[in-house]
Amino acid sequence: MATVKLTNVKKVYGKNVVAVQNFNLEIADKEFIVFVGPSGCGKSTTLRMIAGLEDITDGTVEINGKVVNDLQPKDRNIAMVFQNYALYPHLTVFENMAFALRLLRVPQEMTNESTGKTTYVYSKLSQDEIYKRVTEAAEILGISDLLLRRPRELSGGQRQRVAIGRAMVRDSQVFLMDEPLSNLDAKLRNQMRAEIILLRKKIDTTFIYVTHDQTEAMTLGDRIVIMKDGFIQQVGTPTEVFDMPANLFVAEFIGAPKMNTVPATLVRNGDGYSVEVFGVTLPVEGDKGDQLLQKGVESQSITLGVRPEHMTLTNRNNPYAIPCTLQVNEMMGSELHLHVLAADGTPLIVRVPTVQLTAQQVSSLVAGVRIYVTFQSKVMHFFGSESQLNLLAEQSKEANAASEPQQEQTDEAAKGTASQQWYHN
């Protein structure tokens, strides 16, 4: 129902604590956008600026092509779900959901017949209309039988539903969600995540969703905005950010367990490439090799990234085997997370599906055993050891700008998180 456009948005707390800057993003109609990043990265601040709960220091926020910088939240036609639900404790579920509707004044165009002038008359919604809207939303969310209860009589999941319902009844252009699942226990979170995906199909409006959980980001988002220290690190579809992370930060942030990163050397031999890591030389072939060649990458020291699930166990006869000592074996049921130390002491994580191993092999994987791991060139990620940027990714202007002042910004961003709490003091 609405597009959202942020141009050079910047947020400064106090005098010089920068929480968000250089924020440029166009959100398409009915898109599901997820802001994700570690705490203090400015994702919530950005959402609150779109909602109108924080002043915008610089730049513009447009909703449906209209600049809303100076509009009150109620005039932006947005709905928001808060992390702690923010249900009104003294009102029943019905009244909670009806609260906004009771305050709503609907403009109606009136024409004076004698003068021909048109004026607007603002009228309340009728009781019937309010009842209809609330019960309809309750129906969709499956909370019809809870309407007369108070929030404290509800479970966490039910409260979450009411909070979503309260936002739903308003038929808003943009649906904002600020870490809506982080107060739920792990099982309920998974369930609600699936329900949000279903809900989204029913509501069919523009969603902006903030989370620190990369799983939520990956599963929910049409596009993911990964932020760090107030800067956008990468914007892309889940597949894009997973397969082609723009820099080392994104690579380590997306995916669990996090990507293994080790210092390595990229060697160019004419048109061929190879990587030297842990004293083993691995050839870079196929697509990755072609891409490196296309980019004209020269020999250099790099940070090599390989995801735990892309590593495989092998035997010592494999010429590309990297010998490791097993430190911890985490049995996850369907898979093993093996925390190993490479010969030079670098910690690595290897994720092995248990179906690939015999029962005897699984039981022999105890701390201290020596195992051999390897990986193929198609799963390698190459990052400049200085710039930390992906050597193969198309670098957008923002990403470049973001990587440059990163070091100076870290302190300020840390202060930024402290200053966000200032308001709640």
Partner: protein
């Protein structure tokens, strides 16, 4: 539905999950590795120093401590309750009206209570009326002011907010009667002393009501800001947020504030005496009853004073008992700040 079913794509995968199994090789544990792991573990969790065992058993120390505590508490109880019971007993004394060296009356009766209302000198009804009026008016207006100030200080961020709060706290440290003479001169210009002292006192109580902001502010601080924000997104104005969201959630503190405002005039002695300036009709109960204890009166009116004291205590006691749970919630509510 059928359309979807027919157009449904079928994906076939042919994966041999066991293919890798044969090729994996696992060597036996490295003896050095496990050895170092174990010593590390022992160092951290097994070989830590243990606490020295106690010389005397836990039970004995508990009993001694409890005995001491109960003795001290009992003494404090007696010291604290004695004057209270003294006044109640003496108010029923009929054989004499002045000070005596004993507490238990020799002859019991309600003479003093009757005298309190019938004796032309005592004027107790007027004092009681004065105080009640002050209590009612003060409690209402003071609550409105105090909640408004507290809410503004809790929710709004403006220049000089911290300074203002600190200043009010510092000024609150000074005893109220420092400004006594100045206030008297000021109020007497407006003819709000002597007989009109209750009105002057109401003005004084109300004027300083914002200074008692900290308890209510502490309470408002505990109400999550996201409630305000949710209401703002829902379209509520500041006024609507205060009246529709915050106030209904603040019942304990509203009642606490009303109670405090109502009680202040009953206990105010210094201000009330000074403002009334020896005008009998302008006294509140505290000042009036004290007047009964002046040198020329005490021999005739001491027991009447006791009866008055008991009567004053009754409404406040009842009020307190009824509203006790709110009072406690109000005082402690601000204490646990999130």
């Amino acid at each position: 539905m059928t359309e979807q079913e027919t157009s449904q794509q079928i994906l076939d995968f042919d994966v041999d999950f066991n293919a890798a199994a044969a090729n994996v090789e696992i060597d036996p544990p490295d003896p050095n590795f496990t050895q170092t792991e174990q010593t590390e573990f022992r160092k951290r969790f097994v070989d830590v120093p243990r606490p020295v065992s106690r010389l005397v058993g836990q039970r004995v120390t508990n009993r001694i401590a409890n005995t001491v505590i109960y003795i001290v508490l009992s003494i404090m109880c007696i010291v604290w309750l004695l004057p209270f019971f003294g006044i109640v007993f003496e108010s029923f004394r009929c054989e004499s009206t002045g000070l005596e060296g004993y507490i238990f009356p020799k002859k019991w009766g309600f003479d003093n209570y009757v005298r309190l209302f019938t004796d032309p000198t005592s004027n107790f009804l007027r004092w009681f009326g004065n105080t009640l009026a002050m209590g009612l008016i003060t409690s209402v207006v003071q609550t409105a002011f105090q909640l408004a100030v507290s809410y503004a200080l809790s929710r709004n961020r403006f220049k000089g907010r911290k300074f203002l709060m600190n200043m009010m706290l510092v000024f609150g440290m000074f005893p109220g009667f420092l400004t006594l003479i100045l206030l008297y001169t000021l109020l007497s210009d407006w003819n709000l002393t002597m007989t009109n002292a209750p009105w002057g006192l109401i003005l004084i109580y109300i004027a300083s009501s914002g200074m008692g902001y900290y308890i209510a502010k502490g309470f408002f601080d505990t109400i999550s800001h996201s409630l305000d924000e949710a209401a703002r997104v829902d379209g509520a104005t500041q006024m609507q947020i205060f009246f529709k969201i915050i106030l209904p959630l603040s019942k304990p503190i509203v009642i606490y504030t009303i109670l405090m405002g109502f009680m202040a005039p009953w206990g105010d002695f210094v201000m009330a005496t000074f403002m009334a300036n020896n005008t009998n009709n302008g006294y509140n109960v505290a000042a009036g009853l004290q007047w009964l204890l002046t040198d020329s009166m005490i021999n005739d009116y001491y027991t009447t004073f006791c009866a008055g004291g008991v009567l004053v205590a009754i409404p406040i006691t009842i009020l307190f008992m009824l509203l006790q749970k709110y009072y406690v919630a109000g005082v402690t509510g601000g204490a646990v700040k999130g």
